[in-house]
Amino acid sequence: MPLFISKRDTDDKLRRKVMEISGQNFQTCFQCGTCSGSCPMADHITVIPRKIMALLQLGNKKALEEANTPWICASCHTCMVRCPRGIDIPRVMEALRLLKLRRNIDHVELKKIKPEEVSDLPQIAMVSGFRKMTS
C-alpha cells in the first residue's frame, strides 16, 4: 500500500482524538517493526501495526478507516510488551475501534451468530467479543 503524504489527507483532529482516547503518544514510534513482527494476527490484517502508527502520525484518516487492523487485533498485548518506545499499541487499536463504535456502528451483529454457536461459545467469548465489537 503506497503512502501519500499531502496536506489534503491530513486530519489533525483525528490524531488528537486517538491520542486523547488511547492516552498514547504514537508520535514517538520510530518504525522499528517489532509490533508487526510480534503480531499473531499479522497474516490477516490489511495494514500492519507499524504502518498504523505511521498513518496516525500523518493523520491519514481515509487509510485508517479502510484498515481492518483494529477489527482483527485480538488485544493480546504482545506488541505492547515488546515495543521499545513503550507505546501501548492495543490502546491505540481500541481508540480506533471506538471512533466507529461511538457512532453507533456495530462491527459484529448478535443476530448473525448461529444459535448453535451461541450455546457452544463460552460466556467470556461473548462478553469480550461484544465489548470490543459492538457499541
Partner: protein, 295 residues
C-alpha cells in the same frame, strides 16, 4: 489457610471442568476457599480507553465485595477474570484522579483504594503454597506424559499484572514438573490463540490456534495444558473445525492445568468432568494408566 475465591461466569457453566477440578485439588492440599457470596461478571476484558471508566465499575464492585468479606486476597481460576480484576485493582491503587471519580460515582458503595490483592491460582500455588510441597502431595505422578504448557495472553500481559516474565515464563512449566509430567517447551507457548476474534474473525483465530497446536506437536508434545476457558474453546473445542479445514490437523488432547493436578493428587477423576473435554483427553490418561480403564 482460607482465601476468597472469585469464580466468574464461565466457570459455572461451560468450564465446570476447570472449577470443580481446581476446588477438589485445593481440598486435597488442605486449602479451603471462600467463594464470594455475591459477585457479578467482571466484564471479561479490561477497557483500554482512557475516557471509559464505566466499565471499571463491575470489576471494582467485585473487589469491594472481597474487602467486605474480610479477606485480603482474592483468587481467580479464569485467566481473563484475573487480568480484568488485577488491572482494575492496579488502577484503583495508583490513579488518584480516576479512583476519586469511580468512588464518587459508586456513592452507594464504600470507597475502595486497591486494598485487596488479586492472585491467580498458579501464582498462589507458586508463592504461597510452594511447588516443593505440591510435589510431596503427588501420589499419582504423570510420569512419561509429555505435556506442553500453554500460557496465552492474560496471565503474562501487560507487565503490571503479569504473574511471570511476559516473554519467558516458567510457572506453568514448574507446576507440570511438580506433577511429574515431562514438560515440552515450544515457541508458541505464549502466542495468542485469537481470543474473542472467534466472533469477529473466526477464520483468523482458527488459523492461529491451528498453528499453535501444530507447533506444540512438532516439538514432541502429546497434550496441551492451559488455564483459560477461551483458549480451551479456540484450541480444544474448535479442533473439529481444524480437522475439516486443514489437511495437516490432528487430534491434540487439551486439559485444564487443574485437571492434570487433580489426577496427580489422586482425586476421583469423575470430579474433573473429562466429558467436557475432547474425547482424546480421557483416552490418553487411560492409555497411560493414570486413570483406571474402567473409569
Amino acid at each position: 489457610m482460607k482465601l476468597s475465591y472469585y469464580p466468574g461466569c464461565t466457570l459455572k457453566t461451560k468450564a465446570k471442568n476447570l472449577e470443580l477440578s481446581a476446588l477438589a485439588a485445593l481440598k486435597a492440599l488442605g486449602i479451603e476457599v471462600d467463594e464470594l457470596e455475591r459477585w457479578n461478571c467482571c466484564g471479561a476484558v479490561y477497557s483500554l480507553a482512557d475516557d471509559d471508566l464505566i466499565h471499571l465499575v463491575a470489576p471494582v464492585r467485585d473487589l469491594i465485595r472481597v474487602k467486605e468479606s474480610g479477606h485480603d486476597t482474592v483468587m481467580t481460576l479464569c485467566s481473563m477474570c484475573f487480568n480484568t480484576l488485577a488491572r482494575a485493582n492496579e488502577l484503583m491503587k495508583h490513579d488518584e484522579e480516576k479512583r476519586f471519580t469511580i468512588n464518587t460515582f459508586m456513592d452507594e458503595e464504600p470507597d475502595y483504594a486497591g486494598e485487596v490483592k488479586v492472585v491467580h491460582f498458579l501464582d498462589f500455588i507458586r508463592d504461597d503454597y510452594g511447588f516443593d510441597k505440591l510435589k510431596e502431595k503427588v501420589i499419582n505422578p504423570l510420569t512419561g506424559l509429555k505435556v506442553a504448557p500453554y500460557y496465552g495472553c492474560t496471565l503474562l500481559r501487560p507487565r503490571e499484572v503479569a504473574i511471570d516474565k511476559p516473554d519467558n515464563p516458567s510457572v506453568l512449566h514448574r507446576f507440570l514438573e511438580a506433577l511429574g509430567a515431562t514438560v515440552v517447551d515450544f515457541p508458541s507457548s505464549t502466542t495468542c490463540c485469537g481470543t474473542y476474534q472467534v466472533l469477529g474473525a473466526p477464520e483468523a483465530s482458527l488459523r492461529v490456534s491451528h498453528e499453535i497446536l501444530g507447533d506444540a506437536v512438532r516439538h514432541g508434545t502429546e497434550a496441551l495444558a492451559l488455564t483459560c476457558p477461551l483458549c480451551d474453546y479456540n484450541l480444544g473445542r474448535r479442533q473439529d473445525k481444524m480437522l475439516e479445514k486443514y489437511d495437516d490437523a490432528g487430534e491434540v488432547p487439551v486439559y485444564y492445568f487443574t485437571q492434570l493436578m487433580a489426577i496427580a493428587l489422586g482425586v476421583d477423576p469423575g470430579i474433573s468432568h473429562f466429558e467436557l473435554n475432547r474425547k482424546s483427553a480421557l483416552e490418553l490418561l487411560k492409555a497411560r494408566n493414570l486413570i483406571k480403564a474402567s473409569a
